[in-house]
Amino acid sequence: MAATTVAPSAKAPARPVMQRGRAHRPGRLRRRAADNLTGYAFLVGGVLCFAFFSWYPMVREFIMSFQRTRRGVTTWVGWDNYVRVWHDPAFTAAWKNTIEFTLLALVLGYALPFLIAVLLNEFRHARGYLRVLVYIPVMLPPASGLFLFKYAYDPGNGVFNEVLRALHLPTSQWVQSEAMTIPSLVIASTWLNMGSAVLIYLAALQNVPGELYEAAELDGAGLLRRIWHVTVPQTRLILSLMFLLQIVATMQLFIEPFILAGGSGVQNHAESIVYLIYQHAFSFNHDLNGAAALGVMLMLVLLVFSGLYTWLSPKQD
């Protein structure tokens, strides 16, 4: 009996609450939507831009990678495009060079800006002037900067070889040499791009509490120990994120080989995956389906790193 009397009374208060909720929800939603209308209005432009110019092309690329268009007729071909680009004579070289460039760019293009930032952070005078100096190459259009390097890399009378000659050192064929092609691309790329990374590192360094350095100094730590035990741990998250962004950016290598090495270099020593995509799309009988397959492959590789980036990002908050 107790159960029958208790049960209705236990449920009783719940019903009016639910009814009240149902009765008021549309009004509240409408009011909330109205309140946020301005926000939605501002958002819609950005969403449309992303939808049209980023998300739709990505979906389209994925679909196209399983299709073949010939004489205006598009058919589903399964994995054929992937198999075909896999057999492209430059496929292996393109991946090898892209990975080699990425690794070397990590050593040079990732570590160097951090070291420069640490050094700049140590300067008490002319810090602003030095920052501008480091950032200037970023303001230069990449093509212009690379054309400067193209002249500097001239194996005949380029600036670099002239300097080496003046120092009585052996000269190099630079982008015309098998061994020096990728390092030459990395040097140019680092010079062009490191300004932004330096500024980001500098901003991170300036957030490191000064008392930590003072404490370290009191404990007798020298410059290197201060960097290792204070700077690196305090900027660990920025360093991790920049590391991943660097990988994602450098794997999309294109303009450096395109301008400095005529695209693929001597016997494909400068061929990159993105240049191979470009070749398939615009040179090899407009093989857009093959280009899409290559694009999907690269996207999958980069997605791994982007996933890591996303995973790391909230931790920074």
């Binding site: 819609v44 049209f52 005949g156 015309q176 005529g262 693929s264 001597v266 016997q267 040179s283």
Partner: protein
């Protein structure tokens, strides 16, 4: 602004943004206006740029349009030209994929395949006749076949070239060579190159490409000259591992490293070589007559310095040379009236002696060179060809004898192989290797290239 009013503005902005976005996705052209007011309108691309020859070339084009519309009052020509759209293949591919090309659009002879794959060309076979294109029968078969598939015509050729040896008369003279006796064989080229390179001051005797697929393009031309080919006649077998191909690479390698007549800087693309030539640093190169125009117009060279000879051969005249050219396609969906109007316009502007591209009187008055053997569009000895030659001789402002060896010794033209760009990309490799590596293993390079080309042929693209 009150909050209510502000929201209203925001809502209008939202609706406008969505509307604009949808409009941007919609079709931007159609044929509704093609025959408005009883007149047929056609959009023709690749009109001269405002910057070409100080705007004079565009002025002449516009005068031609006006003259044509006077003769054909039922036709309206709308001509467009945006940047380097006619010289930049990626732009062309992008326009084809987007379906945004003009009603009558410019393309290379090698573009037929991609135009048909994109399903963007109209079949104009039944419209090409004596009335619309009176001298159609006099156009060379090579040019016509480049725009024909399965008996169907998709474009009207208006320019056709063959490659030859372009040389700098001034450097020849400085090097003690006789510019009226250009090299006829590759051995002659090598000897002359050595003499020119001895001038020093960064001057190279002979220069060649090895980047951005242009290396493979020139390798093919030089292979044709020695009687070889990249692929078999049926297009199914790679044929670059041959003594002829070996000879092509060996000559270049020896000029680069034994004679030191090609300079240290290699991996050159199209503009690099012509830029060097414009600067007076190149004695000879392989090219079509229009490259002389580019040297002058884009790279500040001088017509007075340049001359042309036929493609050098192995032990005598070349067995063949690479040919190519351009034409105008008709967009799929063009109305019959538009196709007819387009054909009449092309006949007027591009195919009639004394008019349009052959209006040498006007070109001379504009200060343009007259007498360059730019086009080998019409068959040798045809009435149209003869008329054009006569007009050129009457109005020339160049020394025609500079081009006489090239004009008077025509070499059989062969057009590009199937999958040309993919094959050229492979052949850039051996070209780059023999021009940058003193110990390049030519036999191995050609063997590897042959295997790669065979892969391309069997895979297709």
């Amino acid at each position: 602004m009150s909050a209510r009013h502000y929201r209203k503005v925001a809502a209008v902005a939202l609706a406008t943004t969505v509307g604009l976005g949808l409009a941007a996705c919609g079709s931007s052209s159609g044929n509704a206006a093609a025959s408005a007011g009883g007149k047929t309108t056609i959009v023709v691309d690749c009109a001269p740029l405002k910057t070409d020859n100080g705007g004079k070339t565009l002025q002449q084009w516009n005068a031609d349009v006006a003259a044509f519309e006077k003769i054909h009052p039922d036709v309206v020509i709308r001509s467009i030209s945006v940047g380097a759209q006619c010289d930049n293949p990626p732009d062309f591919t992008a326009r084809l994929q987007g379906g945004t090309q003009a009603d009558v659009f410019y393309g290379y002879m090698t573009d037929l395949n991609q135009v048909l794959d994109a399903d963007q060309a109209a079949d104009i076979t039944k419209y090409v006749n004596k009335d619309t294109v009176p001298n159609w029968d006099q156009i060379t078969d090579v040019a016509k076949s480049a725009f024909t598939e399965d008996g169907k015509i998709y474009a009207v050729p208006f320019y056709s070239y063959t490659m030859g040896l372009v040389y700098n008369k001034k450097l020849f003279t400085q090097a003690g060579l006789d510019p009226s006796k250009p090299p006829a064989t590759w051995q002659d080229v090598r000897t002359a190159a050595k003499a020119i390179a001895a001038l020093g001051n960064g001057i190279v005797g002979y220069q060649d490409y090895s980047a951005q697929n242009t290396g493979g393009w020139h390798f093919t031309a030089e292979l044709y000259a020695r009687g070889g080919a990249d692929v078999s006649a049926d297009g199914k077998t790679a044929t670059v591992n041959t003594p002829q191909a070996q000879a092509v690479l060996q000559t270049l390698h020896d000029m680069r490293f034994v004679d030191n007549s090609m300079g240290a800087k290699q991996l050159l693309g199209w503009a690099d070589l012509l830029n060097n030539a414009g600067g007076g640093k190149v004695g000879m190169y392989i090219g079509a007559p229009d490259t002389v125009q580019s040297i002058v117009n884009q790279f500040k060279g001088s017509y007075a310095d340049w001359a042309m000879a036929p493609m050098p051969g192995d032990n005598g005249p070349a067995q063949a040379t690479l040919g190519g050219g351009n034409g105008y396609f008709f967009k799929k969906g063009d109305t019959p009236a538009q196709i007819k109007a387009g054909l009449e316009w092309l006949s007027f502007e591009e195919l009639t002696p004394g008019q349009g591209q052959f209006n040498y009187v006007a070109q001379k008055a504009e200060g343009l060179p007259v007498g360059l053997p730019l086009s080998q569009l019409f068959t040798v000895g045809s009435a149209t060809g003869k008329q054009i030659d006569t007009l050129a001789q009457q109005n020339t402002n160049l020394t025609l004898t500079d081009y006489a060896p090239y004009v008077n010794n025509p070499v059989k033209a062969i057009i590009e192989p199937p999958n040309a760009q993919a094959i050229y990309a492979v052949l850039d490799g051996p070209m780059g290797a023999v021009l940058t590596q003193p110990n390049a293993n030519i036999t191995q390079l050609l063997s590897d290239a042959n295997t790669k080309i065979q892969t391309i042929l069997s895979q297709g693209s």
